[in-house]
């Protein structure tokens, strides 16, 4: 049943007849991906404000490019078919599923990943802070997709009701939290954002986490 070794290739000592080639692993370093026969494209991405250059095949997904070529592993992949939302990034401020896009297609757009949601000095952004305060995550795998989605949503609707908050996250799957604390976190993030927009003297402290109950 097993395949035969390629006669041209030397066989490493501890290996039986199943090794086809012993070419060393091409690194994901954009310049070093030459072991692949596919045509490589030069792709320039602007991610979290920084210009990035990668050389990847045309079929390379944006999610894989971010995660594996650029090492921005915060963006997660839960389904690779556009349903779960774990891979959501912001494309010019709008939520987009990185698993449904080629890296090459993202050229010319501003991409924001979860890594870009903190302030430049490393402080948590309001949505991140709200998730921590409200226990909006358990395993954290779905979380980056929620954080990006909610960030964009609050730009559109800075003061959502709990019902609106629930609707807003209705396109992302979470298997751990049951969503309740995520809904709470959306409202809390809105409060935090309003706190930030308070007078620049910075005296206003953020309000306590919302205890409002949803009426459904």
């Amino acid at each position: 049943m097993s395949s035969t070794p390629d006669a041209q290739q030397p066989e490493p000592k501890s290996v039986r007849g199943t090794i086809v080639t012993t070419v060393p692993r091409a690194s994901f370093d954009p310049a070093g991906g030459a072991a692949q026969p596919e045509e490589l494209l030069d792709v320039y991405l602007r991610v979290n404000g920084a210009e990035q250059h990668i050389r990847v095949p045309g079929r390379r997904l944006l999610s894989d490019a971010l995660r594996h070529d650029l090492g921005l592993t915060g963006t997660h992949v839960g389904c690779e078919h556009g349903v779960c939302g774990a891979c959501t990034v912001l494309l010019d401020g709008q939520p987009a599923r990185a698993c449904l896009m080629f890296a090459a297609t993202a050229q010319g757009h501003q991409i924001t990943t979860v890594e870009g949601l903190s302030t430049p000095d490393g402080e948590l952004g309001p949505v991140q802070q709200a998730f921590v305060e409200c226990h909006g995550l358990q395993c954290g795998f779905c979380t980056p997709g929620f954080l990006t989605t909610i960030t964009a949503y609050l730009d559109e609707n800075p003061d959502p009701t709990p019902e609106e908050a629930r609707e807003a996250i209705g396109g992302n799957l979470c298997r751990c939290t049951g969503y309740q604390n995520i809904v709470k976190a959306v409202c809390r993030a809105a409060e935090l954002r309003r706190g930030e927009q308070a007078p620049p003297d910075g005296t206003q402290t953020p309000a306590a986490p919302t205890e409002r109950q949803e009426q459904r």
């Binding site: 090794i19 086809v20 995660r67 921590v132 954290g140 609707e167 049951g178």
Partner: protein, 799 residues
């Protein structure tokens, strides 16, 4: 005194990292690793006639193509996978191979492994492998398996893997003599854990050290380690397994070795390479594990009050193509059927059957949702038959608080007697009725009716054996800078262990929670552990760490007592300072105690230099390390309970069913939950919320749909419906805290509580809204619509 943190909703220590995107999940590691992809069976049942891998080899970047034959010569990798949990009821154990040999028994079974420079290329090559099959007829579903017109495995006659019975008293006699007798046929779904992160393994062989190092998305790193050492013929000491951040488990990441574990690790070892396999979503659907599906038959005898006099339950359980994880699921069903009720004449049998579908291993609740479904549907049927309030029928059957501990009279899945340790069921029911407004519901129904709306209320109770043994351990070391390193071998998949365990240690040791750093699931730090399943994490490792902290504290006080020339009994530790009670000026910081605990004469840092003030009192006639001592302020201990604890709870649901479309909406969902004292109420609530969402999924949406050939028709998130936020109602919770006498923290597990009675509670509510019995879950709008038609034409009530 420093503030106690146990019992308060401390924010999670793991979160700032995770919300920044700084988590390290399996696929975030090993970017320079080779990637594996698998050729999987497209048939539910077939003979593998020939495998032609020549096309795959031509793909540039492919490094290896393995079939079953290539596993030979690496330990026992080519032998069938182990039967992990043998049980006397298992008559015909059959397990699969890491790569299929001759036959495949379900769609998705791995046959060929391709290793390439990246996953794209590995998949390209996998597509070019040609496998010839001789398809065989498949056995799908409990009924087909039970009929046994065809066999899944020749060696398992009747498709029976296991048969089990347990008897209490004289069920048949009592039923025959009872004033009322009912019989019910029940059916419950096949669903799946579906963590957002699938399975995965990264294995590397360190040729210089002759060691295999593995990262895996697992609920049991010690289990995977032992499995790999055994399969690959390596000494246990040459294998280390680390669970990095894990993106959810819910049971499916407990069963090791998976075929891919063996194939990937064997290839890494043989090729002296680093190889990674990350399961994609389709693979997770067709080759991981499912759960839940059972057919059930109940016969129950009861008196005019609804008091159960005798009950017989028969369960037919679909365990899929192989039985690697034994019969934990149907055993849990069998032993959890009595729930919170006095049951002295009871018999249960289960038949666990092979089918040509994906294997079945525990999914959150692990057999208990089926038990609650069986019992609670029965309670509702009794109430309906007697035209009584459903809560009243339950009340007359409750085990009373003064009857605790209550001996269930049955042996549990861990081989020990089931004894309910604590709980107050009447009090829980009162809380639930209050929370949901049970007594006022008729008014609401009338009001809704006037608006043309149809609503119903339902409820369900459960008990849950949690915190099962045999043991977990802890290790604590205090560094000379005050950092407290805590390890437990138990893994974590989002339950907040790093926070809760830090709370326990901080309180017991008298240090700040911020100074405590928890490591879980790393076999290098703690080689003995069982794993995270069955709501046992907090109970087992929490108590192990409490005992360990006590030990370390004792050592610290002993050393500090010497330094302060005081009696250890007169000392306390507050905010990391050891001081004489009542004379707080006489004190020594814990980091300095750590320095003194290791009489090495290097002053690495300021603390060490400062510690010299406490030196110089040593007894010249004794060695620096005494007989009962060890260098370093550290210790290890284990917790091993005599038996399992029992958490319990009750749920109520209010649903609305659309009179035209039969759409079902959960309007309210209320939970009363008793897991003993809550270590961190915020985390407990989170566990309940998540559990309920999964339960609602199981009740209304999630069903794995196989066709008669064993094709899974809904193997994607597009087609297998899991609840989004818009399908989960706001969950209202209340708690009762009855401490367990079985462990020093008095706690009981909480991980599965939310899921167990949900299908039963929703079935109860839909039944209440519609006025006819619901016997099959999940229930979809088309099914409800069909039932309506059926009951409109048939006025005889089968209950």
């Amino acid at each position: 005194m420093s503030t106690r943190t146990v019992g308060s909703s401390v924010q999670r220590r793991e979160d700032p990292r995770l919300v920044r995107g700084d988590g390290r999940y399996l696929d975030d590691l090993g970017h320079d690793a080779l990637a594996a992809a698998f050729v999987r069976s497209p048939h539910g049942h077939a003979k593998v006639v020939d495998i032609d891998t020549s096309g795959a080899i031509d793909v540039d970047g492919v490094v290896a193509v393995w079939t079953w034959e290539d596993l030979e010569g690496t330990g026992s990798a080519a032998e069938p996978l182990p039967m992990l949990l043998p049980h006397p009821s298992i008559e015909h154990p059959v397990t699969g191979y890491a790569l299929a040999k001759d036959r495949v028994h379900h769609v998705g079974q791995p046959i060929v492994m391709v290793v390439a420079q990246d996953r794209y290329l590995a998949e390209d090559a996998a597509q070019r492998v040609r496998v010839s099959y001789e398809p065989l007829p498949a056995v799908v579903g409990v009924e087909a398996a039970r009929a046994a017109e065809r066999l899944v495995h020749e060696e398992a006659p009747g498709n029976v893997g296991a048969y089990f019975e347990q008897h209490l008293g004289d069920a048949a006699g009592q039923i025959d003599a009872a004033p009322h007798v009912l019989e019910l046929d029940l059916d419950i779904e096949r669903s799946a854990c579906m963590p957002m992160e699938g399975k995965g393994i990264l294995a590397r062989w360190d040729a210089e050290e002759g060691r295999l190092k593995v990262h895996a998305s697992t609920q049991t790193s010690t289990g995977l380690r032992a499995a790999l050492a055994a399969k690959l013929g390596l000494p246990l000491s040459a294998v280390e397994v680390i669970a990095p951040d894990v993106g959810g488990g819910f049971g499916v990441k407990i069963n090791h070795p998976w075929p891919e574990d063996v194939a990937v690790a064997a290839a890494a070892m043989r090729m002296q390479a680093k190889i990674k396999w990350v399961e994609d979503r389709r693979e997770h659907f067709i080759s991981s594990a499912h759960e839940r599906q059972q057919l059930q038959h109940v016969r129950v005898g009861f008196d005019d009050d609804g008091q159960i006099l005798g009950m017989q339950a028969q369960v037919w359980h679909d365990h899929g193509a192989y039985l690697p994880y034994g019969v934990i699921v149907p055993l849990n069903t069998a032993t959890h059927i009595p729930g919170p009720y006095r049951m002295r004449h009871f018999s249960v049998t289960f038949t666990s059957l092979y089918t040509n579908t994906v294997i079945v291993t525990p999914y959150r609740g692990a057999g208990r949702p089926q038990a609650a479904y069986l019992m609670e549907r029965t309670m509702d049927a009794i109430a309906r038959h007697l035209d009584k309030d459903r809560t009243k029928v339950r009340s007359v059957n409750f085990v009373q608080p003064e009857q605790m501990p209550w001996d269930l009279g049955m042996v549990l899945q861990d081989g020990r007697m089931g004894i309910y340790d604590s709980g107050d069921f009447p009090a829980s029911l009162e809380k639930l009725k209050e929370l949901v407004g049970w007594e006022d519901f008729e008014d609401y129904r009338e009001q809704a009716r006037a608006e043309g709306r149809r609503v119903g209320i339902g409820m369900a109770c459960y008990v849950e054996g949690t915190g099962a043994g045999p043991y977990e351990g802890g290790h604590i070391e205090v560094e000379t800078n005050g950092r407290v390193n805590v390890s437990t071998g138990l893994t974590t998949q989002g339950q907040g262990h790093a926070t809760v365990f830090a709370q326990i240690v901080a309180d017991e040791l008298g240090v700040k929670v911020e100074d405590v750093h928890v490591t879980t699931g790393d076999t290098r730090r703690m080689a003995y552990s069982v794993g995270t399943w069955g709501s046992r994490g907090a109970v087992m490792s929490g108590n192990a760490l409490l005992l360990t902290a006590r030990k370390v504290k004792e050592q610290a006080l002993r050393i500090a007592a010497d330094a302060l020339e005081a009696n250890p009994d007169d000392l306390e530790i507050v905010d990391g300072i050891v001081r004489v009670k009542g004379a707080p000026k006489s004190q020594i910081p814990l980091p300095m105690v750590a320095v003194l605990a290791n009489p090495l004469r290097y002053a690495f840092d300021e603390t060490a230099r400062a510690a010299t003030q406490f030196g110089g009192k040593s007894d010249e006639s004794k060695p620096p390390i005494g007989d009962a001592e060890h260098p370093g302020l550290e210790g290890s201990d284990f917790f091993s309970p005599v038996r399992t604890t029992f958490a319990n709870g009750m749920h109520a649901a209010v649903v609305e069913t659309d009179p035209d479309t039969a759409d079902i909406t959960v309007l309210r969902y209320c939970v009363v939950h008793d897991c003993g004292p809550m270590l961190n109420p915020m985390i407990v609530e989170g566990q309940v919320h998540g559990g309920v969402a999964q339960g609602i999924g199981g009740a209304l949406y999630e069903r794995l749909a196989y066709d008669a050939d064993g094709q899974l028709l809904n193997a994607s998130f597009m087609d297998f419906l899991m609840p989004f936020a818009t399908e989960v109602p706001h969950i209202e919770t209340d708690h009762l805290e009855t401490p367990s006498p079985l462990n020093p923290l008095g706690i009981k597990g909480a991980g599965e509580a939310g899921t167990i009675p949900t299908s039963a509670a929703i079935a109860s509510a839909v039944e209440d809204a519609e006025g006819f019995p619901i016997r099959r879950m999940p229930i979809s709008p088309p099914e409800l619509w069909e039932l309506r038609k059926q009951h409109a034409s048939d006025t005889t009530d089968p209950s």
